[in-house]
Symmetry: C2
Subunit: 266 residues, 2 copies
């Protein structure tokens, strides 16, 4: 009954994801535990069963081991989740994917921001159940506003922009605008994606009953129902991103015009 996605013209970030999903659940291998194997298994587990299903006992089981065995490599559940987040974020810097996403060798700051955005989006689409964790976990350095855990990423961002001529203040403002855009867009995208699959998973009672929740008192909703449910995430992402870049470009130009000025973006 109907394909899962109606990808009109294909989403490159999603395609990259699908191509690289050969990991699979590993399941009941006898032993040889280590922190890395545990993190990998945890990510796979969350991808398959959702965050709330992850318990120490169950994770242990998929590794063919009792729950307590994990505690030799991980201080506790919370730290495990921190580890999952760090691990997932670090894949941004993995070069071996070899394609156009690797952020370190970029071609100007706009190109850098584009690569970074699509890199993060790929992560979000590859691990939709993990991504909310990235957004909600307390940051590595709480004084960084907004706090986005990976110091390496923040450093990379700020370094690139200041190298490109952004005064510190403008680079910081850009960092905030950029990360809040990215977070908001991707969080909505994965939430909706999760909602879709959970819909497919369990039709849950009368499908008609909940399919159209009586919208008679919501005329605008009723009228735009089809439009609202259409997925144009990729295109919208692109446009919003480009708009943000335009805005930053404007800031940079203005800053250069009146050099020495503090360049107060906000």
């Amino acid at each position: 009954m109907a394909k899962t996605t109606s990808d009109d013209h294909r989403d490159p970030d999603l395609i990259a994801v699908q191509a690289g999903s050969a990991a699979a659940s590993e399941m009941t291998r006898p032993a040889g535990l280590d922190r890395d194997r545990i993190l990998t298994a945890a990510i796979a587990f969350i991808d398959e069963n959702g965050l709330s299903a992850l318990t120490m006992r169950r994770l242990g089981a998929t590794l063919g081991v009792e729950a307590m065995a994990l505690y030799r490599y991980v201080p506790g559940r919370e730290d495990l989740l921190d580890g999952v987040v760090d691990r997932v974020v670090e894949t941004l810097f993995d070069k071996d994917d070899g394609d156009d996403i690797y952020v370190e060798d970029h071609n100007g700051w706009q190109d850098y921001l584009m690569r970074l955005a699509h890199g993060v989006r790929r992560i979000a689409l590859a691990h939709p159940s993990v991504f909310p964790l990235v957004a909600s976990r307390p940051p590595a350095a709480p004084w960084v506003r907004p706090p986005l855990r990976s110091l390496r990423m923040v450093e990379s961002f700020l370094g690139t922009l200041t190298d490109a001529g952004f005064p510190d203040q403008a680079a910081v403002a850009a960092y905030r605008a950029y990360s809040s855009f990215l977070l908001g867009h991707l969080l909505l995208e994965v939430t909706q994606l999760g909602a879709q699959v959970s819909l497919l998973d369990q039709p849950e009672g009368d499908p008609e009953a909940q399919a159209n929740t009586d919208l008679t008192q919501f005329p605008a909703l009723l009228r735009t129902e089809k439009l609202l449910s259409r997925d144009k995430s990729a295109a919208e992402f692109e446009e919003a991103l480009e708009n943000l870049l335009d805005r930053l470009e404007r800031v940079l130009r203005e800053t250069r015009a009146s050099d020495g000025d503090a360049g107060d973006l906000a």
Copy 2:
């Protein structure tokens, strides 16, 4: 020791919040349970102790009642949380606050979007620990993309924009851009706010050790440390919001110029 916030020039949304916090924890009143009292208590509890601290037993205790008593009014914990989210979102439409936020009597669609944005921001600042729930809970109507629970709010949004001349398609696109902006910005704001208070709560061991996590390998971070930790959320929110409105205005103008055109924003 030291005031909590260094509010330079005051944040109106935050001020409105602080003025209205007279509710207090209610604590051990004997009986007279009902769904409303439970929801109110749950919100107060989360505000004071954080989401993860909320358990049925503890919530019962603050109401002077055993955990199981709650189940007569609430089907279970998850539904309780849904109720909390709905309740908090509905306060957007409470008129009795009487001030400039009430969304229903607005002055043009820009004014409406401004009111709505600040209304949501007030909610986020008033209940920083509840807000992430608003963002992460599955939506009331899963087919709405992005799913933002309150159908009433979506309806209100779409109705206002189409009344103002936006074609359906543009209104939907605007809804997505707007809600993802709002979500991203506010989520970062409350996360960082939560990080701050949890920092104040428990200095947790040697304060020097974790205060400056050795940034020697992160020069840009080190250089902009002060800038990064400064709170300009209100100003940045305002600027990003205005920028979004400008963009929507441009779309509307272009649409009008070539009327009958589909007005494809994305």
